[in-house]
Symmetry: C2
Subunit: 348 residues, 2 copies
Amino acid sequence: MSVNDRKMKVLQAIVDDYVTTNEPVGSKSLIERHNFPVSSATLRNDMAELERMGLIEKPHTSAGRIPSDRGYREYVDSLMTLDSLSDEERIEISGRIDESVGEVRDLLKNASAALSETTGYVSLVMTPKLAGSSLLQLKILMIEPGKALVVMVLSAGVVKDKVVRIPNFLTPDQLKEISDSVEKSLNGKPLDEITLVTLATSVKETRIPDSLLNQVLYETYTAIKQADRLDVYLDGEHNMLKLPDFSELSRARDLLGTLSHDGMVAGYVNEIEKESQGSDTYMIRIGQEIALEGLEDCSFITTTYKVGDSISGNIGVIGPKRMDYSKVISQIDFVRYKLNDVIKKLNS
Amino acid sequence: MSVNDRKMKVLQAIVDDYVTTNEPVGSKSLIERHNFPVSSATLRNDMAELERMGLIEKPHTSAGRIPSDRGYREYVDSLMTLDSLSDEERIEISGRIDESVGEVRDLLKNASAALSETTGYVSLVMTPKLAGSSLLQLKILMIEPGKALVVMVLSAGVVKDKVVRIPNFLTPDQLKEISDSVEKSLNGKPLDEITLVTLATSVKETRIPDSLLNQVLYETYTAIKQADRLDVYLDGEHNMLKLPDFSELSRARDLLGTLSHDGMVAGYVNEIEKESQGSDTYMIRIGQEIALEGLEDCSFITTTYKVGDSISGNIGVIGPKRMDYSKVISQIDFVRYKLNDVIKKLNS
DNA sequence: AATTAGCACTCTTACTCTTCGAGTGCCAAA
DNA sequence: TTTGGCACTCGAAGAGTAAGAGTGCTAATT
């Protein structure tokens, strides 16, 4: 084993130990726990070298070493060995997700709950990004005078709807006329290409007064725009309070404060997804790499789940930097697998 | 002023001071801050008496006094003077709630956000209890072969719907036949009186094979049952970490742990609502009175908002026992007023 | 050149001791 | 019933100390 190889083994051992014990690891305990065929003095030299390389650091002069952000990065990129889930965990997760009755919302919520529970960290599940999907059907149904339901069927079988207000004296027949011509002209159009103008030009020959028509079209438009809204299901925030990493109240406060703005988190996920487009399946951000206040001591692992061919949503975990990356990744992976599976069945 | 009156004034002053300073209040500072026309020694006697009565207590021998749960109770029931909201607060809350676009879900979420933000505590908004409301309309619409949308219009104008699966080869005409007869027989029925049997007997003369029919009826049934599900919007949990009352991590952990089970909280609200049925508009639980783990140092104030005549939902705040009750109550009151208002407009 | 033993040095953590002061209870006088 | 006075209690805060884990460096060894 070359000297360089050993240094990497040392880094790996430091990460592993620190992750489990949450204590800065010193040369002596390193020897004890792992069987390096060298003395502690040699490890001290190696560690000094690793520190020069910026992979580990000391909290203070006379303490052991902890991995730096770059150290974790090296670990995640090159040193980590992926392991697989235990059967109990699979069963636990499967159970949680299978118990969702019907609604996609429940499904995603349950997936998030399952993920936060098995990891013991914060989980994140976002609704699928529908902006790119297209409109297969659109129906406007009269509920009662003045009130209608806009029902949209999107590609990949997603159904969205919204109650809208319409002029009181609009008759069901008139509404049907509008509905039919709107559907005809929008059929197959990607959601993000639909504008108020598209809608307005879609209904041409009609005896319905413009003012009435416009109100209906406007409401329909808002319904369409609202359909592709991203919802975020964060779960397990309170888990963070159990971690020694956040035993300082101020850290916990900052973290939970930021997490409570789920829009911010969602925005960030979209951002990093854009950046790392097409590269790895898993997007891992470590410590300072995360551009969110209060998450400096966290790592953020996200990936995507699929709804049909072109539509996907995000799923991920926010935990302490000091986490068992390999385990968490396999946990996310299984949840994602189950999610894909259940959604496929749901839509088939 | 009789001696007894003064004792109550003293209690009031102690609560007021303790709420603002979070320090046990002693006889001397009491004299300084309020102008009692007596000496500190007299107050000491009064305080000893109040302690004998179980209204205040000492954290330790040589400290000032803090209100006991019973002390807070006395304060809330008899001593508190209600004050009203500042204009800024009204505007702030109004803005937050008015910005909700259309969906009831958004409205309730925003109301909850507004409430947690203005109080600085945890807010709770529950969806209206629909169990008692009745079914005005029910339509089952074919979306595509094998998939249908069940749309329900309930009393008070609430619209609920759910995508359900139906047999693949069921034709739109057959579905319409089922839909029409179901609607006819269920029209006006309270939700909680509808059972699978009711449904089954509603469709009698038909040429549709039983097996197909039953699947549709069963799915419709689950859609109806799901309609009256209670959702809970808790917000501002992280606010509790800012309070000195929860600077002990373990308390904060227990509290947030319990709050994360929003089903538990919802269940508790339903329970206390049942108990205090018909009494006050506001239900206030203080400290140990709250039968939820981790909320021993909290108070829980709830009230109801209205959707139409007979339907109502719950809204409330969970904060530290040591809160400005009068202020929080007026804040809840205003949010509730706005909520009632917006909902009325939405349904009109 | 790489490894090792040894040793002086550093820095945190935990504990003890002390002091300070706010607050109390109670007594005797008004 | 109220008040001044006083001894007493107890927590909070600060200082000092000892223990221990870990380091870096030097000189010897392989």
